[in-house]
Amino acid sequence: MDRAASLRWKTRVFALIVILSNPLGGYWLDRGMRGRTTASAVDYLEAIFSPWVMLGILVLILWLVARMALLSWADLSYVLPVTSLGYVITAAVGHFLLNEQVTAQRWAGTLFIVAGTILVGLGTPHSGSES
């Protein structure tokens, strides 16, 4: 496999990890945080060490590390729009798994985000900087 093809595959795999780990982490975090009232540092510590929040944080750490690695070779203006597909999956997770009232306006917004993401995704993974 030549270098360009290898870079394309590496970019796709890391983008997929970034896209999926964000909604999953958010889902567990939401389960752990819903209904809590954090007014002090102790409240935050208590929340952080609860099982769902802890699981959410671990998955979000995976998201962070994968995204940092991706940013080491792909432009920020490519990485952010492409991985924003995670926002769409999050809306679906909210609706189907957390029973949230996702209004028609929110779904319309989600479609705009999908359209924007596809448009940006048609670009190349590495455009480089001008300098």
């Binding site: 819903r34 070779w73 319309a108």
Partner: protein, 121 residues
Amino acid sequence: MKVWILVGVMVGSTVIGDLLQSFEMKRHGEIHDFGPRSLGRLLTTLARKKFLILAIFFMAVSFFAFMTLLETADLSFAVPVSAATLVFETILARVILKERVDVRRWLGAGLVACGVWLLAL
């Protein structure tokens, strides 16, 4: 009102954190080797980069704002609304990081911005 203050803190600190992170990771260069020993060495090197440490601080601020937001707001609102960072970041990536942003990417970022606006209504 509290919800929008938390959204503001979350978005603002994410934008600053992302710019610092991208700047430092670009300075470090592309990561090629993903073996455990190489990743260990990489983490040791990255732990000494001051912009990256600052970026992590801003990401932590953003994370705690996000956590607090989830106490009352829907996940399907809290996460997509954070995409507001994208518009600011595309502009700042062009202006500060000197990245090449073509018309297609501008248009894409614009559509995402419209989407976020609809989600926030």
